[in-house]
Amino acid sequence: MRYSSLRNTYVVDLTHHIAGPYATRLLAEVGADVIKVEPPWGEGARKAGPHRPEQTNGDRGGRFAFLNTNKLGVTLNLKHQRGVELFMKLLDGADLLIENFAPGTLEKLGLASEDLLKRFPKLSVISISNFGADGPDRDAHLNDLTLFARGGWTYPVGEPDREPLTPPGSLAQYIGGLFGAIAAMQSMLARDLTLGYGQHVDVALLEAAALTMIYEPVGFQYSGVVRERAGKRFAVGPFMIVTLKCQDGYAGVQCVTDKQFENLCELMGKPELITDDRFKTALQRYVNNDALLAIVEEFFLQHDRKWLHREGQARAIPLVGIPNVAELLEWEQLTSRKYFETIDDPVLGRIRIPGAPLRMGSHRPEPSRPAPRLGEHNREIFGGRLGLNDRELTDLKTAGII
């Protein structure tokens, strides 16, 4: 969906892969005018999967189709002098330039942020990178596996006697992208409220991962205790936060308060546990966590996900069945809220994609535009907005600049 809240915001998008495109996707979704600038051969992750098995060509995979809705797409070869000149014209009047190249790349292209900020006082430049713009590992290689590992997310997950388990997919890249979108909004607020001019923001994915993993480093300093892997349990503590097998899959319960514990005992048909010496207080439930787990485990095995979810929630216990993503697509809570949006993608056909994380109360959103084809809006932007004539456009194309 596409809201129009940022109708007065113009973004030049020089991003690729995940973190950068997710940042600009969020901005486009709330109405910013986002021009995605790709090299004439397409950004690096344009064709990354998933694909339909029968699909043999086309300019995109599923990830690109999701991350780039509501953007306008142009191509420009920035290794060419003429390409850089046109890029400068695009930046004229922009509120934001967002990029996620390796640190130092913009400078090499002759687009150092200090120079751009001088030339375009209204502009802010948002740089998203793995480790940030300085520090000993600035230029090191990194992927999701090592990002989560260093950021502290991985260590406490999995079986105590096995290797720790990394989070799925590219969560940390998405969270880094979210920080990028936030930095973009903050830089405009600072400009309009305090400074009168734009600035550079250096966003680091490693720091984004560490910042969203607050329990460990601070809790460790307070208590001296390192949280270890607790298998199916989130942790061994004065609570029961656990993912357990049931008749038709798995269900998760987060029993934290005294009231939730009492309700769980009622649900299990074992009200006598409420006054049992082993479980009477949160502290005793911590000490006797294994014994409590064994009781809950046996109970879950006797029921299915739907029953556990319904009966648990009826007693105000945070208890849910664990869905797979196909089931998620059909979950009534989301379908009744029209959360997923159907896109007619020019290459992939009809796909259903997650909607906006927010719902603005001021106006209704419009349907999203599919992700642009490679150079789809070259004529509209270079011709229409920058005023180049047909012959100039043809020349640029022949020279491999667009």
């Binding site: 991985t154 997919g169 550079h200 560490a210 910042l211 809790g219 993912t243 987060q254």
Partner: protein
């Protein structure tokens, strides 16, 4: 240097736990004046349970997560079950730019603080509600914490070992930080729209709807391939090696995404025989023989040190990292060099290092080194300076237990 907002905006934070409080904290880092309101009976549950210690221990001032997620806020108390308390909340809201709440959908209307009541008091107010599942829909009243949100959003079902077994919840209750960050983005969008229209609005952020986009690729994989993705453990669909291995007393994560990287990796580890092993020569062969590859690497890595080995690999331009425990992460070379952890002195607990910021502004740095408030710490400031109540009025509120600095359980004798 200046902050982003320089105190020119005010937020009222009625939220508890992590999701809403994180949003408030991030606003405070920008220089927004954030007033956190707690009830002295139902104070922020992230402060912990009074039953964990005697009153003189001040248990609720010793919570690491609370003291992290509420840094830089002004702390005041109000009895939200009394009409006088609610009346004062409304007076504060009338002076504010932003209102944050993360109750279940029915609570604010029950308190007499529905959007329809508040909007006429302050047409420029940007209010954000952060229910777990949304204000509408069959599950609107369902209960959920961060882990619950993560589970129903499809994340948990994707976490598990490659050789089978059960799904696992993540380590950080992802639903919470996701909601805090999405909520901050939403509020900033609301403020910018207000610059344009002159009007505030009510924004809804269903926490589950903020997490689902993180698994968009899996959702598309299910649609485009017809196969529901299963947990992959630490493995990668195309590349090998891609795993986590015991390394001395810790663990190391490492990966190679080309044949050259693999050979380089084997050589740096002193495993020339593996570099030349025909079973592992190409990516398809390494994927086919991944169990054998992992066994060889496990054997070779188990007696090395995780920190030195990952440093050696990183310096050779390869993809590696130590799996950091809570203790290790405080010593991460890159985070330390960038000054990520910041010391904060907080009453009752003293000085500790807290996570700093992930965004470095060239002109208006974020400020993350101010402590979280004690319960009711700034009552005088909020009610005296901001609402201009007289000392007598404030004392009356204290006497009637509308405000206070101790949990009401400690100040009200139990009924016989």
């Amino acid at each position: 240097m200046k902050t982003i907002v320089e105190g020119k905006l005010r937020a009222i934070d009625l939220s508890m736990g992590w999701a809403g409080p994180l949003l408030g904290e991030l606003l405070a880092e920008m220089g927004v004046e954030v007033i956190k309101i707690e009830d002295t009976l139902h104070f922020d549950w992230w402060r912990g349970s009074l039953s964990m210690g005697p009153p003189e221990m001040q248990v609720i001032e010793r919570s690491a997560p609370f003291n992290t997620a509420n840094r830089g806020k002004i702390g005041a108390t109000l009895d939200l079950t009394s009409p006088r308390g609610i009346e004062i909340v409304k007076r504060l809201v009338a002076t504010a730019d932003i209102l944050i709440e993360n109750y279940s959908p029915d609570v604010m209307p029950k308190l007499g603080l529905a959007w329809g009541t508040l909007a006429p008091l302050n047409p420029r107010l940007v209010m954000i509600s952060m229910p777990s599942f949304g204000a509408e829909g069959p599950e609107r009243n369902a209960r959920g914490y961060g882990n619950t949100i993560e589970a129903v959003a499809g994340v948990t079902g994707l976490v598990g070992y490659h050789d089978g077994g059960q799904p696992y919840t993540l380590s950080n209750a992802l639903g919470d930080p996701s909601a805090g960050l999405n909520g901050l983005f939403a509020v900033l969008v609301g403020l910018r729209e207000r610059e344009d229209t002159g009007r505030g609005q009510h924004i809804e952020l269903a926490q589950v709807e903020g997490v689902v986009p993180f698994v968009a690729e899996a959702i598309l994989e299910a649609q485009l391939t017809g196969q529901v993705p299963k947990p992959r453990g630490n493995r990668h669909p195309q590349h090998a090696p891609h795993g986590i291995y015991r390394c001395g007393s810790g663990f190391i994560a490492l990966a190679a995404d080309s044949d050259e990287q693999w050979r380089e990796l084997a050589v740096v580890l002193g495993l020339e025989s593996l570099a030349n092993d025909s079973r592992f020569a190409t990516t398809p062969e390494r994927k086919r023989n991944e169990d054998a590859l992992d066994a060889e690497l496990s054997r070779a890595l188990k007696d090395l040190g995780a920190d030195e080995t990952s440093r050696k690999l990183i310096d050779a331009g390869l993809i590696a990292g130590q799996v950091h425990s809570a203790a290790d992460i405080l010593g991460d070379a890159q985070l330390s060099a960038r000054g990520f952890f910041v010391p904060v002195e907080r009453a009752v607990v003293g000085t500790h290092l807290y996570p700093g910021v992930a965004e470095h502004f060239s002109e208006t740095p974020l400020v993350a080194d101010r402590p979280a408030p004690l319960l009711g710490e700034h009552n005088r400031k909020v009610f005296g300076e901001i609402l201009r109540m007289s000392d007598a009025e404030i004392e009356a509120l204290e006497r009637d237990k509308i405000i206070g600095t101790l949990p009401r359980q400690f100040t009200t004798p139990k009924a016989a």
